[in-house]
């Protein structure tokens, strides 16, 4: 099934057509996704645990290989099983935000952001620190930060690499309700700042309704429904 997730007059940038067998708590199942994501779109992958949301995100980042299929971004082929093309994560230029944020414990907040830059640029680091309200924390190490602060650093770091695509794996799942509400705005801010596609994994309906332009409902590896959040959820 090929889905159009936005208006036909918009340019499709990310094309995903993959299959991968997965082992879930309910046994073996096949993740089968066939979709196209338009530019500037914030797409949410929604579903229960084991639906294949994180697996799909990891496949897009190049951290997992599909069994077969095809992925391209803006015409550049990232993965093609038929032609044996498989770009490593280093060459895909995606900003990936992990569930545990994966901040480097040996680096300060500022150094975490600098490390992500392809070319050192202190002004851009200052600007990101200011954008996410992290100026006062720039010399702190991740171990001293709260969950919300870590989330903002992880977002700033993901953006510092100027990625083509932002992939957010349940970025708010570890936070309490009030913190989640505040940080949803930070995600929207990051998405606008990037001016490209963002794929967000979530199993929180409220979060999806607030953030997503489009939602893809996954169940046992299969896309059940997709479209505007108000129509799908």
């Amino acid at each position: 099934m090929t889905m159009c997730l936005c208006g036909s007059n918009r340019k499709f940038m990310l094309k995903i057509h993959i299959e991968r067998s997965m082992l879930t708590s309910e046994g073996k199942c096949l993740l089968k996704v066939d979709l196209e994501v338009a530019n500037n779109e914030l797409l949410c992958l929604f579903g229960h645990s084991g639906a294949g949301k994180t697996t799909l995100l990891r496949i897009l980042a190049g951290l997992f290989n599909p069994d077969r299929g095809y992925i391209s971004f803006n015409g550049e082929v990232w993965y093609d099983s038929a032609k044996k093309i498989n770009l490593p994560p280093q060459q895909r230029n995606v900003g990936y935000m992990f569930q545990d944020y994966a901040l480097f414990p040996n680096m300060t907040v500022r150094r975490n952001i600098e490390f992500a830059q392809k070319v050192r640029n202190a002004e851009e680091v200052d600007s990101l620190l200011a954008h996410f309200g992290l100026e006062a924390l720039q010399k702190q190490y991740p171990a001293k930060l709260s969950g919300g602060q870590k989330q903002r650093v992880a977002l700033a770091r993901a953006l510092a690499a100027k990625p083509n695509l932002l992939l957010l794996d349940e970025p708010l799942s570890a936070l309490d309700y009030d913190m989640r509400l505040n940080l949803q705005d930070e995600i929207l801010k990051a998405h606008k700042l990037l001016n490209s596609q963002t794929l967000l994994v979530s199993h929180d309906k409220e979060e999806v309704l607030k953030l997503a332009d489009t939602v893809v409902l996954l169940r046992n590896g299969i896309v059940i429904k997709s479209g505007k959040p108000v129509d799908v959820l």
Binding site: Q99, P105, R157, A161
Partner: protein, 226 residues
């Protein structure tokens, strides 16, 4: 009775052997530990078993095989004699080589455990930020496994200064060349020089205690890292 100069020389030789063994093993141990921690290959269990063999094998067994290999009639020993003009049997170089092999697990295992303990997401985050495996290793992994590195260095050094079986098999008891402290203790006891044996023993006891204290304090720090 042993004079002060002999006593000091023996201890210096012990330190030299342990220091060189630790330095060599650190350089070769880091890449081996990396491969064992993160790569999959079909004979990985065999490699891990071989590296761990010195922990279960009597030192005399390893020493015997190394002594055989060191013989100038053997291809290995002959190669070193022909191309490097080094006779491995009953020399410091031979003892050093045996010590490196015999101490492998004491370096590799803490390093491997340290790498495995680092959350996978840190490596993956670095890769998605465009960093190579080498850059990730140097700038992300190594700085986040310092307690494991200190443990590996300390364990290797401590194990080396206590080595007896392998050293006596391949090095014998040559003052200034292969006579390390553990062999000197045995030698002095055989000669009924208990006072001198006690001096050596006390030094080894204190050094070992200090090193183990460092290792246990590092274990506490490892738990705090992640």
């Amino acid at each position: 009775m042993v004079n002060d100069s002999d006593f000091l020389n023996t201890l210096l030789l012990t330190g030299k052997l342990a220091g060189w063994t630790t330095a060599i093993l650190f350089v070769i141990g880091l890449p081996i530990a990396y491969v064992l921690a993160y790569k999959r290959f079909w004979f990985k269990s065999l490699v891990e078993a071989l590296i761990s063999m010195p922990m279960v094998l009597p030192p005399t067994v390893l020493g015997f095989y190394m002594l055989v290999a060191y013989s100038p009639q053997h291809a290995f020993g002959g190669f070193f004699e022909k191309y490097f003009d080094v006779r491995l049997a009953f020399s410091f170089e031979g003892v050093l080589m045996a010590s490196v092999v015999f101490s492998l697990p004491f370096m590799i295992q803490p390093l491997q455990n340290g790498l495995v303990a680092i959350p996978r997401s840190l490596r993956e985050a670095s890769y998605t930020l465009g960093k190579s495996e080498f850059t990730t290793f140097i700038k992300v992994l190594i700085p986040n496994m310092i307690p494991s590195i200190i443990t590996a260095l300390a364990m290797t050094f401590a194990h080396c200064i206590g080595e007896f079986g392998v050293v006596i098999m391949v090095g014998g008891n040559m003052p200034g060349e292969t006579r390390v402290a553990s062999i000197a203790i045995y030698d002095e006891v055989q000669a009924l020089n208990y006072d001198v044996a006690n001096q050596y023993s006390l030094v080894l006891f204190i050094i070992s205690l200090l090193i183990l204290t460092v290792i246990y304090s590092m274990n506490g720090k490892k738990k705090m890292l992640f």
